[in-house]
Each structure stands twice: as C-alpha cells, then as structure tokens.
Symmetry: C4
Subunit: 254 residues, 4 copies
C-alpha cells in the first residue's frame, strides 16, 4: 500500500491559487478557521487524501454510513477578477509519527506544486495556558519580506516566540515548502489550549481574509464562541458553588 | 521480507463469495462468532497469512509443535443453490501498528478482489462498560441502501454511535474496501468488554446467519456463555462474601 | 542503508550443518549456553551481522577500541566423521521492534538455507519466577516426529507450556523456518529469570550436546554458577541480617 | 520522500579532510565544542541535511523567519600548509529512532567518503551524575594504534568505561565508519550531565585542537562557563537559604 493516496473527485480549473491549511491542533484553531472558510465560501471538495500514517479507523455518520479518516482538499473560486483561487486543506487527523508527518507534508506540497501554488497559509493555535480575552495573531514566515508584509495586517512577530518552534503540519509545510521555493506564512491565534477555541479561529480568519481579499460572515463562529463561553462559565459557577458548599460545611463544624 | 505473506494450501473454487472477518477485539466477539461459524459450517482452511506486523512469536500446541502467529482464510460452500459461498477470516492477532493495520487490510482486500468478493461483513464487539443482559447488534455500512437493508434484520444504527468510530480491521476493511467499491457491513454486538463474550457473539451470529441464509446450531456458544456466567457469578459471590466479612468485623468492634 | 548487513570474514567449508542460536533473553540462558559451546569447541567467527534494528550503539573494549553491536556466526567442525558441522549464532542484542525481529530472523534463515542447514536448535530460558534447584529442559519443535525424538533425551513437553508461546528469535526461527521447511527445536532451560543463569544454560547444553553428539567440559559454567550462587546467598544473608536488626530494635522497645 | 536529503549550498574544494561531529547529547558537550570551533575558525556552511527522522518541526528565528530543523556541514581551510581541512557537523537534533540513527550515520559517512575523509573525531559528554571540577577527556577509537596515539595527548581510556558503550551519532559514526575503513576517535568530556557544560566542551576542544594542529581562543566558552557557574551557585544559595529557614522554624518549636 502506498504511504499516501490522493483520490481526485474532479480536477478543477484552479488559477493563481493560495493553499490554506487548517488541520487539528492546539485549540483546534486552524481546523475551526479553515472549516468556517469552506462553509462561508461554499468551497467544494475536489480530492481526498488517505494514509497509513493516520489511525486505522473509520468514523460513523449519523446515517450509519462510514468514512475512512482522511484529509480533504476543497476549492473556492476567487471573488475578485484575477484574484487568487483558494485550495483549503482540512481533515480528521495529522500524521501519527514524525516520519508520517514528513511523508504527508511532502505529498501535500507535491499537489501544491502541481497546481502552481505560490503561497501557503497554515493556520493554528498558540497555547497560552490561560484564558485569553483578546487573542493576538502571531506569525512566522519563510522570508524576511513576508514578515514585513504581514506586520501591516497587525500580525505580531514577538522575539523568541514560539520558543519551541512550530510542530506538525503547520510548521512542516513552511519548512519543507521553503526547500521547494514556496513562500509561506503560519498564522497562530492565541488560545488557552484547554478547549476548541472559535474566538481564536475568528481572530486568525479576520487577518487572513484581509490578506487574501475575501469577505466572510463570522456569525456562526461567534455563536460557537458564545456556546463555549456559556459552557465554561457554567463550569466555573459549578466549581465555585462546590467550593462554597465546602466552606459552609466547615462553618457548620466550626 | 515482504510485509504480508499469504500461503495458499489450495485454491478452492469459490462462487459468488461473501467475506466474513472475525479477528480479536473488544470482548473477542468477532473472533468467537467467526470461529463458531467455521466449526458449525465445517469450513476448511485454504490460506495462511503471516506478517511482520504481528508479534514475533510462535504459539506452542498441546502436542509440543509450534505455529507461527497468523491469520487464516477458511472456505465454506453455500448450502443454497446459487447462494453465496463464504470466506471466513480469523486469526491470533491484528496488526500491531497503524501502518501494519493498513498494510494487512490492504492485502486482505486484494485477496477479496481476486475471488470476486462483492460484500464483506466484519464482526466485532461494542464495549458498554457494564454487563449487558440482552445485547443489541449495532451496524455501520458503506452506503445508505445497505443501512436500510440491514435495519430489516433488526440491526440498530443509533445516532452518534459508536462515537469514536470503529478502530482496527473491522473498521478498516469497510473504509479501505469502500475505496475499492466493495460493499461492507460492520456488525457490533453489545458487550461489557470485560471478558470474552459468547452471548454477544451469538447475538451477532443470529443476525448474520439470517442475512447470509445459513442455519447454525448455537449450543456450543450457549454452553460457553453459561461457563462465563457461572464464573462471573462465582466471582460476584466471592466479592460479596468478602464485603460481608468486613461488615462483620466492623460490627465486632461496633 | 540495508535492513541487515552480513559481512563474511571468510567462507568456511561447512558440511551437513546444524544451526544453534543463543541470543540474549530470559536469564541469558541461550547466550550463556551458546557462548560456552563456542569456547569449548574453539569455534571460529566467520561472519558478522549488523542491523539498523539493533540499538545505535558501539561497545568499548577494555583496550579502548569500539565494536558496533552485532550478531555473530561461528563455525565448528564436527568431531565425528560424517557428523554435523555446527554454525553457532550469538550476539549483543535481538531486534528492537517486531518488524526488526522478523527481518533479522528472515536473513538468518537465508544464510542457513545457503549453507544447507537442515536442522536448527534455538536455546533459551523459561522464566519460573522463583529459584529452580534442578532445572528441567522444556522443548518445542516444528513437527510431531521431532517431539518424540526429543523426549528420548529427557526433554519435557508439558501441556499448555509455555502458555504465552515463545517470543523473539528463539520462536521466530522455528516459526519462519517451518515455512521454509527447516526442522527446528527450541530448548528452554527453567530459570528464575531474575539474573543470568549458568545452571540453566548447563542443563540445556547437557541435553543439546547428547543430541548433536559432541562432548564439552562444563567446569567454566559450573564456576559461573557457583559465583552466582555465592552472590545470591550473600544477598540473602544481608536481607536476613537487616530483618534481624529490625526485630532486635523492636525488642528493645518491647 | 527520501530518508535523508543533503542540499549543497556550494561544493568546496576540500583537501585531506578530517570530519568533526558535535551533535546534541549529554551536557551538549559535543554541540558546544563543535559550534565554538565553527565560530573561532570562521567555518562556512556548505550543506544542509534534512530528514524525516528528525522531529516534524520548524524553529522560528528572532526575525520571525522559520528554519526546518536540520544538521549542517561546515568547512574550514587548514591554517597549515598541507594540513587537514576540516568538515564540522553540527545540528538541532539527532535521529529520533534507532533506524533513523543508522540511516543518518550511513548518509553522513557517504558524504565523508565522497570527500575522502580519512579520520573522524566525534565529540560528546560523559555523564558523571555529579559536578566535575576538572573534567578529564575519555576516548574510544576504531583501532589499537589510535588508542596509543591519543594517550599522548592526555586522553584517558579507563578500563570498563563507558560501561554502557556509546549511544547515538558519536558512537555510530565510529562503528559504521569502521566497516567502511574510516579511522575514528570519540572524545568524551566528563560532565555532570545536568545542564549544558561549556567547561567540558573546552576540555574536549583543548585536546582536539592540539591533535588537529589548530589554535583557537577559548574566551567565549570560558564566559559561558562562568555564566553557568553563576547560575548554579545562585541555585545552590537559594537551596541553602530554604534549608536554613526550615531549620529556624524547627528551632522555634524546639
């Protein structure tokens, strides 16, 4: 069996494309952002990627029909004349081993090269270990000019961050892509990292959509963010009420 | 050394075959069911599958003779004119790594294709974390029509279950098979998951035998179930008597 | 880099050979036995086996010179006219992964085939979890006739033992060898499994040397066994004296 | 994707070269030593080595530009007429699996062969588990003559050390190199192993530079050593002051 299998559903006529990657990761920021983009731009799936570097697993839909875990390439026409068409990569999993990660990134870049992709944006979260009210968007790029260009969009490049580098597809597409002369940018939304974080995803998308010159509605992401906020506040209430009960008990004996 | 070696003992003349998989897994439900089917239908082994993705191990028979751990293909003629012959896959182990699982499923599907298999049934357990009096049989399939067809046999397709998908050979044969246009059904018998569960295996087989139109006797499985029931009840008695002793001790001091 | 590299020092003229394997394992019984055989028969190394399935490590000799970890093939002429020459396999390590174990066993069997090896003896320990005064030698073979033949030498084949099969090179050479029509026997000396066990190695060798019709002196193994006995008895004394001190202390306060 | 990719920046004209390896390891002694040598000799990078056996990771520079984790080959002309030019190997990581380590060492040796390297020095630390005031330099080599030669430079070859052999690139380049008839020496500076140890790096370099007949300034390493000394003494003070506080507390109750 091949390491990576790419099955085309159809081969769209893609012009001047930008590749956007949003696979699972810290706070699922990249995945949430890329999936929102697919929904809002009505992007269409044109290829499936399967691999023995994913878990040996099928997912079962509500209708009882299975799906082999995969990554998917979606396509959206640019709304602008002579603008950049978009290839959006989402999926259930990243590769499970270092070797698998390299194999997968390598095959994704082959597809990017085939379609003449000149720029890649990889989307992810930057784990802060605490709740972030107003998430910043951190950046990393393949060359100095891109850093300057990205600063204009409010992306920050704090010295020494991320200190441990960028691990996984979001990093590897930049690193391996650089060897293939593909310019790339990684956008990381600050997130607690404790749960799926639509707010960080929105922060990332607000910047990205400006750069790639598309407009999207954020209502659905905002709704998801409110749901998460509600759940976390309920959790906090519960914790506080438990703590109070304990204090009461102590007073009773006191 | 090749990843997977299939050694044919002989090449039977198989007509219109259905492949049934029952490898080790949750509650060993699939393995118990498939082995019972082999026994009752007097199915005959026609091929061995060895792989470096299995443990590096031989098993030693009561007679002192070793057997390299393997998977085995068995063959049973259909009892019905123009019915479906059966290929039944059983074995000591599943692949030990994700890559190994994919390689093995891929080679098993190659054999299935070679014999013109059009439908696969994979058998397994669905772990409930508690003892189940009357196990239901859950299903998952490769397409919507099959779901409807299977419902007629009393198989249930509860929304959102199994939530974590189906991991291992039982899932992968469906997922990879779908890519090769092989229709497949996974049948999962509810089981505690704490021990080998012949009752769940029987529940799965009762449904399967109706679908594939063969009749089998369940006495041996029922006997095994009674043995397990006896052992678990003994275990329960023991636990209760220990708990009682402790209560007595407390009363003594009370 | 190739999976396994075999470097010949010279290609001896080997007649009617038997292969004897003694790699590290439970109680290092096989390794001790095979190394003793090499010493006593003045067997000569004729090939080195290196592999990326061994640890990435060199050992440093007392003279400061390194040796890449390896397995080694040694050769001893039969003392009997038209007897069986011996190929003895020893080494620092076994393969570190299941795949590596299969690759290594496969290459070792290729060499065995090349030299026309018709019978293999693999030597190992059978862990009892307690000190064994008079270790028995358990057997497992590739066919029923060999079981009967081996029983005549006092080798026992207890029903249901070893229950978990034989893991590693000692098992795999039998299992994979069987697929290549090579007759093989695994001899396992009972051992506590807590430390290197020359006594179990001697028990295995006493049987093996009768079978292969060579005579060896066991003085060196007996000496090693005495050293181990001395060390373990010292350890036992120490434990008892500590226990006694504690009792005295308690009496002091009693 | 290839296991190992070597990208040449340019192909220098290298004469009579010696290869010096200093990859991350115990106390980062080898890495610190090799990097210091590169700095002081103004060695120039001429090739990058990337591999799927490294972590799937990019590092982010202070300027926001990423770098795929790698190993690097640097080149320095000999200061002496007809002296040995130097190839210095440094990097972010070693291979993450045994197989990866072997693949990487094998490719590094291919490059060494290509450039006609006749001798390799691998640099590393020897973990002592305690702070070492005056670190000795231990050696291991590929043949007896080299041991004698190295002794003249004050390198020690204590019997039975390192008892567990040499693991990783520093060992494997010797071991695999020996199979390719490349003479090699491993130099290990004694170090606590608790933190990066510039003092041990200096000890190693002082010996190495005498052997390869180059002169380097050690001021920067000495400065780093002082920084580490300062930090560890601060840490010690802190520990002592905490211990004293506890004693005071006890006195208060005493």
């Amino acid at each position: 069996m091949e390491e990576v299998i790419i099955n085309y559903i159809h081969k769209p006529n893609i012009k001047n494309p930008i590749l956007i990657e949003g696979l699972p990761g810290v706070g699922n920021v990249g995945k949430l952002a890329a999936e929102h983009l697919i929904d809002e731009l009505h992007a269409e799936k044109f290829a499936d990627l399967f691999s023995k570097h994913f878990p040996p697993q099928v997912l079962v839909g509500d209708n009882g029909v299975v799906k082999l875990v995969n990554n998917e390439f979606h396509f959206a026409k640019s709304p602008n004349k002579n603008g950049n068409d978009l290839i959006i990569l989402v999926g259930d999993y990243q590769g499970m081993t270092p070797e698998g990660q390299y194999e997968l990134a390598s095959k994704i870049l082959d597809l990017a090269k085939e379609y003449g992709v000149k720029k890649i944006f990889t989307l992810g979260g930057y784990g802060m270990g605490k709740v972030v009210e107003y998430p910043r968007v951190l950046g990393a790029t393949t060359n100095q000019e891109l850093v300057e260009e990205m600063r204009e969009y409010g992306i920050t490049f704090p010295k020494g961050e991320p200190g441990s580098g960028i691990v996984g597809a979001s990093g590897l597409l930049l690193g391996l892509g650089k060897l293939m002369d593909i310019e790339s940018v990684c956008l990381m939304g600050e997130t607690s990292g404790y749960f799926a974080d639509p707010k960080a995803a929105q922060a990332v998308l607000e910047v990205l959509t400006k750069i790639i010159k598309v407009e999207v509605d954020f209502k659905k992401l905002e709704l998801k963010a409110k749901e998460i906020d509600y759940m976390t506040s309920k959790l906090k209430d519960l914790e506080e009420s438990i703590a109070e009960d304990k204090r009461d008990e102590l007073n009773y004996f006191g």
